[in-house]
């Protein structure tokens, strides 16, 4: 099993009365809440944490893209990935990912991902999300009725830009370019860097991933219990399509808090978890369902998207019923796995096998968790949990993992030596 360390980069200092005074953590969150001087420290802490996870032997570090978002400070995950490419050596870099329809022209994604792949010596995992309604339709003004068509076309363009050897003209419905010929080109060129698709629970996405032979990732904040039905649906569909049950076809996101004992875990992780599920998911429902974002086929299937669910949780009408913003419910619901190392080992093995997921993306920093606590969580997991779960799925080959250059052929990156004391 692959254990991947994921950072959302949440703003850690939203006020205690945030939910009472502000309608939404996303789209129209007020600028007065953002202190750039504090964000300087947050970014640097977060990047330290990602580098620390790489040092401790996690298989990958993961970053993602959000816009106008108080719990996701990475409008450009590529900037962070470029830095990580220099400050890590063997860890895969999972950019999860670039919302293709937001880039004009989309060849920008082909270029930047190729840069990251070249700088890192071929360690890139290329994630292509459609993107949430809040990011794409509201913060970035994209037309919800055209978003998926644009996304699919951008995907075709990026893939062709990576694989076509000669300059070509792209005559798309939305994109026309006379001369497509990206420089640089990715190191992983047989045929291109691994493509992973974070998606909701739509049958269309599952089929597309199967057809394209991409990894499907269900990045839910609501943990393995809520994710079980979706992943079962995914595997049923794979069976129908005649695909094997290779667990590396799938990725899944899970929050974890490990400590010496269950009580100590509760003491350490209650505040950051409640900060995340309370303040960070305080999303105004008016930004949840732009018309056309959810396809008619998905409407008919009755599947509710994760963001829609989050927004419904944030609406006063359903919030009282769900109450999943206090630690007991968060833990009972399986949103966050907590406990002693042995407790967590048992739960992770259960998550892996019950969902049949080979790529487990771990959120070991969430909400306002401090750097010290994050490093503690990260280290304890690496030392006491990881060795006891790594063997899972050992019989399967991960065909969707980066294939970097041999270590001996890669550039030696000199250790960073600060010339002056960092400004404080």
């Amino acid at each position: 099993m692959k254990l991947m360390w994921f950072h959302l980069m949440p703003y850690t200092e939203l006020p205690a009365d945030f939910n009472q005074k502000h309608p939404s953590v996303w789209v129209d969150i007020h600028s007065s809440l953002f202190d750039p001087r504090r964000a300087h420290h947050m970014y640097n802490d977060f990047m330290d944490e990602l580098e620390y996870a790489a040092e401790l032997g996690y298989d990958a570090v993961c970053v993602n893209e959000h816009h106008s978002n108080g719990y996701g400070l990475m409008p450009s995950p590529n900037l962070i990935a470029a830095s990580l490419a220099r400050r890590t050596t063997d860890t895969a870099l999972c950019v999860m990912g670039n919302s293709l329809a937001l880039y004009n022209p989309p060849t920008r994604v082909a270029e930047e991902f190729a840069m990251i792949d070249c700088i890192s010596g071929g360690r890139l995992i290329a994630g292509f999300p459609v993107g949430s309604p809040m990011d794409t339709c509201y913060a970035y003004g994209q037309n919800p009725s055209l978003l998926r068509e644009r996304y699919l076309e951008a995907h075709d363009l990026v893939k062709k830009a990576w694989t076509e050897k000669d300059t070509f003209a792209f005559n798309g419905r939305f994109n026309q370019q006379r001369y497509v010929n990206i420089w640089p080109r990715p190191i992983q060129n047989e045929p291109h860097p691994p493509i992973w698709i974070p998606g909701g629970g739509s049958v269309e996405t599952w089929r597309w991933c199967a057809e394209m032979d991409y990894v499907y990732c269900y990045l839910s904040y609501y943990g393995y219990k809520a994710g079980l039905a979706t992943m079962q649906g995914f595997w049923n569909e794979m069976e129908k399509l005649g695909k094997d049950r290779n667990p590396y076809r799938a990725g899944f996101l899970q929050f974890v808090g490990v400590a010496e004992s269950r009580q100590q875990a509760l003491d350490l992780y209650t505040e950051p978890a409640e900060y995340f599920y309370g303040r960070c998911l305080h999303i105004d429902p008016r930004f949840a369902t732009p018309p056309g974002y959810v396809t008619e086929a998905t409407q008919r299937s009755g599947i509710q998207g994760m963001m829609q669910k989050a927004a419904n949780v944030a609406s006063p009408a359903t919030k009282a019923a769900l109450k999943a913003t206090n630690m007991k419910d968060i833990v009972d619901g399986g949103y966050v796995l907590i406990g002693s190392p042995d407790d967590v080992v048992e739960q992770i093995r259960h998550v892996g096998t019950s969902l049949n997921v080979g790529h487990l993306m771990l959120l070991l920093q969430y909400g306002n968790m401090s750097k010290d606590t994050t490093k503690y969580n990260t280290r304890l997991f690496a030392e006491k949990v990881m060795p006891k779960v790594k063997d899972l799925f050992g019989d399967w080959e991960d065909k969707w993992w980066p294939k970097p250059m041999a270590r001996s052929q890669r550039a030696a990156v000199p250790a960073f030596r600060p010339q002056t004391v960092a400004a404080e």
Binding site: C137, G141, N143, P144, S145, R173, R286, P291, G292, Q299
Partner: protein, 263 residues
Amino acid sequence: MSAPVTTTVDVNGHACRVWTKGQGPKLGFLAGLGGLPRWLPFLDRLAETHQVIVPSLPGYPGATGHTELDSHLDWVLAVRQLIDKAGLAGADLVGASVGGAFAAEMAAIFPGHVRRLALIGPFGLFDGAEPAADPWAQRKEAVPGLMCADGEKWTELMAPPEGVNSLEWPIEMTRAAEAAARAFWPLGNTGLEKRLGLIAAPTLILWGERDAVLPPSYARKFAAGISGGINGKSRVEIVAGAGHLAYLDRPDAVAGAVLGHFG
């Protein structure tokens, strides 16, 4: 209220419903946000003296095909086909809200197609100093009051009729919202301002006094655009007590004003 005659016409390979009722000179109506899930008292009033012809725009109730339309030009040409095939070329035309923007385009780009024009709170412009509300970013409970001065009127329009497929009905209503969004996302600004001066048809601009989507002051911008043009004559009337979909709030007053303009 008796039922209209229902026919369909083909636009880009998709069927679009056309409702017809009444005798007299032809009068076309292009509906606003939400389209026409049902026939309206407003249309009955017009049908007392006119042959009222009501084509559904692609994606609105009774019609599909919005997913074929990628650009504003695609939309304008689809509406032109609809007008032609519904037999409305050269007739008087009423357009409201999103339908109002297309009615104005028809009069501007195809002047022979529109004899006289009535616009009811039309989309098409955006003024940063007086921003229009975002009809696609609303909490569910806020929508009725945004659409009509009396929110109950919107709720009645959207309510599933007896015997209708309860799974498909909400999908159709969402499709109408998607069709509007497809043409007008994100601000409702289609650049119509540049073309208002091409409108030669005498134009009545009606605006709900309590329009919560598009500020009534936009009426003056339309009037100025039309009157400053090649041959434009326009007149503004504010409809007291009416919201964005004024024809739902005050059907008699709006129909009376339209009929007054069309003689």
